[in-house]
């Protein structure tokens, strides 16, 4: 008997969805719209975040200029000490000759301007790659204690600004997404509420002829799940194909500047599928339950 009841509930969920086609479309449309908007924001936030992360990586270097007078052994010595510091990933030696080469390369066809130099004015240096940008301050303080160091060049200001931007974008993105999820639950629960309100009479009649709350709630919740699931599938398709298209277009037209900075669509797909399905179905169920509460008290 229990199984028969269950079968009836499922059947009614489907039948209800079909008989209230227009309203079902409205609900699916709302779930879909909200998830698409969420997707757009998500893509923007993820990409900005990604960009910041990449920029951060490029500034996690410290350049240590060595005094001109020290000998090979001392240089080696300093190198050893640097390598031992906490947070240091790698240490690369750059002799003054290498530095001049790089310098000239940077000036390109204007390099002849420096041909007239009496002697190489550039110092020997170590380039330190950090495990993470957050170690900058620590490492710099330690290096200051070493002898034979002429100057330390690091991107403290830029580093700090980048960190601030990164945190700001992450927090902002989180806030926007939270607001959006709240907004979407609000919209959907309103839609479902109106759907339920339009069937208020139906619900009260069911109660009057002896249907239990569970029996009445069942099909509505199932309907909510169906609607949410369909809405999220549509949204997943639209957002992922949309992003894929965008990615490919960008890839073609602006390849030099952009491609590396955009998260590839296949990396984002899994997250979107899991997130959207969960949110879509969650919204459907939540909306149904919230909306039914009031009308079941007959």
């Amino acid at each position: 008997m229990k199984f028969r009841l269950f079968k009836n509930i499922i059947k009614q969920g489907f039948v209800g969805m079909w008989r209230n086609r227009m309203m079902s479309l409205a609900s699916i449309g709302s779930v879909m719209s909200v998830l698409i908007i969420l997707g757009i924001i998500l893509v923007i936030v993820l990409n900005i975040n990604n960009l910041t992360g990449m920029a951060k990586e490029q500034f996690d270097e410290i350049q240590v200029y060595l005094e001109d007078g020290i000998n090979e052994e001392q240089i080696e010595n300093i190198g050893e000490k640097l390598r031992e510091l906490d947070g240091v990933l790698a240490v690369i030696y750059q002799s003054k000759e290498q530095a001049l080469e790089i310098f000239k390369k940077e000036w390109g066809d204007k390099a002849y301007l420096f041909e007239g130099l009496e002697k190489n004015p550039l110092p020997n240096s170590y380039i330190i790659q950090l495990k993470d940008i957050k170690y900058t301050e620590d490492v710099v303080n330690r290096i200051n204690g070493l002898t034979g160091i002429e100057d330390i060049r690091y991107y403290k200001d830029i580093v700090e600004k980048m960190m601030a931007i990164s945190n700001f974008v992450r927090a902002g993105g989180l806030a926007v997404i939270s607001i959006l999820i709240l907004v979407s639950i609000f919209i959907i629960s309103n839609t479902v509420k109106l759907t339920v309100a339009a069937r208020r009479r139906e619900i009260s009649i069911m109660k009057y002829i002896g249907a239990t709350n569970g029996y009445i709630r069942g099909p509505f919740i199932l309907e909510g799940i169906f609607l949410g699931a369909i809405g999220s599938i549509l949204a997943i398709l639209i957002v992922s194909f949309g992003y894929k298209y965008l990615f490919l277009v960008v890839n073609e037209r602006l390849y030099v500047l952009f491609t590396v900075y955009m998260i590839p669509y296949y990396e984002i797909l899994d997250d979107i599928i899991i997130m959207f399905t969960a949110i879509g179905i969650g919204i459907g169920v939540l909306g149904s339950i919230i909306s039914l509460r009031k009308f079941l008290r007959v």
Binding site: N8, K207, Y208, A211, T212, V298
Partner: protein, 228 residues
């Protein structure tokens, strides 16, 4: 079987619909409730169904005090009662067949039972040819008969009917009355609010007359009124 003990009902807006009602109905009785428009007949029925709660007093159904029953238990009480509502209360998005079948589905009847019982009920109220129409596609009298079929399909121990013949022509009305009489003969308690003077007078059953929310007459083998 059914007991109203000092029952009063005052609606939220202050209307005194029932005052100090005392009624005892035995199992298997056939009772007419009569009274002018607004006398409180429908209110009495709504109290039995827990559609409204009494302001005062106690109501017993099958020796259970239904004024104290928990919300969760209400559906199970209603399943013992078949009801014909004054305003029909059919599900608009279900066909006639589905409306009647629905009453069986909610109590978990097998689809075999449903397939046997529903067509039989529909033919008893003369609606076999309308089985697949929606309520909107029916005449007033046809809707009323669907409501009657739904009330009877689960063979309830109590049948409550609020003006079940209000929209029916005399011939159809008498057919329905024959049906109710037969069901009553098989042991179902019948409680029927009505304005149909002819029917009440011809049937000679117990008549409870309400006037402004009070019981003014309660006779076995009664008549609609004394003006006849």
């Amino acid at each position: 079987m059914i007991d109203f003990i000092n029952v009063s009902k005052v609606y939220g807006n202050g209307v005194k619909a029932l005052s100090n009602i005392n009624i005892h109905i035995d199992k298997g009785e056939f009772v007419f409730i009569v009274g002018s428009s607004g006398a409180g007949k429908s209110t009495l029925i709504k109290l039995l169904l827990k559609e409204e709660d009494p302001t005062d007093g106690k109501i017993y159904l099958n020796d259970m005090d239904i004024t104290k029953v928990k919300n969760r238990r209400i559906p199970y009480i209603r399943r013992n009662i078949g009801v014909v509502f004054q305003d029909f209360r059919l599900l608009k998005n279900k066909t006639v067949y589905e409306n009647v079948a629905f009453a069986m589905e909610i109590i978990g009847s097998s689809s075999k039972e449903i397939r046997r019982q529903v067509p039989m009920m529909l033919s008893m109220v003369g609606l076999s040819n309308k089985a697949h129409s929606y309520p909107d596609q029916l005449s007033g009298g046809e809707q009323q008969r669907v409501s009657i079929a739904r009330a009877l399909v689960n063979r309830p121990t109590v049948l409550i009917a609020d003006e079940p013949t209000g929209n029916l022509d005399p011939d159809t009305a008498w057919e329905i009355m024959r049906l109710l009489k037969e069901i009553n003969r098989r042991g179902t308690t019948v409680l029927m609010a009505t304005h149909a003077r002819d029917i009440v007078n011809a049937m000679r059953r117990r008549v409870i007359a309400l006037e402004k929310g009070r019981v003014v007459r309660d006779e076995l083998k009664g008549v609609y009124d004394y003006e006849v």
